[in-house]
């Protein structure tokens, strides 16, 4: 089926990207790698997804994948949010340095 080829191609691309990122952020790379690998398995053998879904008390494999997708997306957003906050701290240091360099002292006094 065409959809399977498309999905596998996308998942493999994601897996390769995660490999390339493993030095920069190992935990994110590991998570992405595991998800793309699992994704390929589920695309190749959809029945497996349904059996796992039944084990967890979910009706269809597709539903289970959808639920997992939501959770992973939220985790990804949270991760990005934390990164933004860390960036903001760096921005603060930079802005502070500029403010200190360009500080003006009153002219009339001292």
């Amino acid at each position: 089926m065409i959809i399977q080829f498309a999905l596998i191609a996308a998942l493999l691309a994601m897996g390769m990207y995660s490999l390339s990122q493993r030095k920069r952020s190992p935990s994110v790379a590991l998570g992405m790698g595991a998800i793309s690998l699992l994704g390929v398995v589920v695309v190749v053998a959809p029945d497996l997804a349904t059996r796992i879904a039944h084990f967890f008390g979910v009706g269809r494999g597709a539903d289970l994948i959808f639920y997992c997708f939501i959770v992973f997306t939220l985790l990804a957003i949270f991760n990005i949010h934390l990164r933004l906050r860390a960036e903001k701290e760096q921005l603060t240091e930079l802005a502070r340095a500029i403010a200190l360099i360009t500080a003006k002292r009153p002219e009339n006094i001292q």
Partner: protein
């Protein structure tokens, strides 16, 4: 008592209306003033400079906590021995600051914190009183500090204490962060009764109830990175 090199650190964001009079009131005390203009869109910087203050201007808006830290860095770099954080909106009284500096020196403390509830809060709205009481309770539970007022912008630090306090919270959570750091570094601190003047101007610029939730989540999230 020998006079110490006192620096007033005043974070300001769009305070052009009042900053000159706040600086003017402080001129009755000996000490230098540094105004940290947190990227105001009005001419707060120019007015503060003309009124005789040193001025640092952030190139982007970062928040009050960040502005305080910038001012503290500036004052420490210029040899400040005592640092006083002072709100720009005119709600603090210079006499109280003087009294707090005297107390710091006389009792050999690291930090003196102002308390409006030991003193008086003139014209304080009931909702704000309630919120501040809750904040006090939270501080007692989270840091063990027995304070009566945890969110007062008027604070006096020795240079050593100020060096130990590095604010990472850019926005309003810095008020709790200061207290956390005081507890963590085991600084000797005391409260001093002050009067806060609640003017229409200061009330309009003050914090809303919803801010409390933001502060709590800011504090919690800080533990997740770096």
């Amino acid at each position: 008592m020998t006079e110490w090199d006192v620096w007033f650190v005043m974070p300001a964001y769009n305070e052009a209306e009042v900053i000159a009079s706040t600086i003017g009131e402080l001129s009755s005390l000996t000490g230098k003033i540094v105004v940290v203009d947190d990227f105001s869109s009005d001419n707060t910087s120019a007015i503060a400079l003309a009124a005789g203050a040193h001025v640092c201007r952030h190139p982007v808006n970062l928040g009050q906590g960040a502005a305080l830290q910038t001012g503290i860095d500036y004052a420490l770099a210029r040899g400040a021995e005592v640092l006083v954080t002072f709100d720009a909106d005119g709600q603090h009284r210079p006499d109280d600051a003087r009294g707090m500096i005297d107390k710091l020196q006389a009792e050999g403390l690291d930090v003196v914190l102002a308390s409006r509830f030991l003193g008086s809060a003139l014209g304080i709205p009931t909702s704000r009183r309630l919120m501040l009481r809750l904040a006090t309770l939270y501080t007692r539970l989270s840091t063990g500090l027995k304070l009566t007022d945890t969110h007062n912008g008027l604070r006096v630090f020795t240079a050593d204490a100020a060096r130990k306090i590095r604010l990472r919270q850019n926005r309003m959570a810095h008020a709790s962060e200061v207290l956390d750091l005081i507890a963590e570094k085991e600084l000797h601190c005391a409260e001093y009764p002050v009067t806060i003047l609640y003017t229409d101007y200061s009330k309009a610029k003050g914090q809303r109830m919803s801010g409390a939730f933001t502060v709590l989540s800011d504090q919690l999230l800080q533990r997740f990175y770096r």
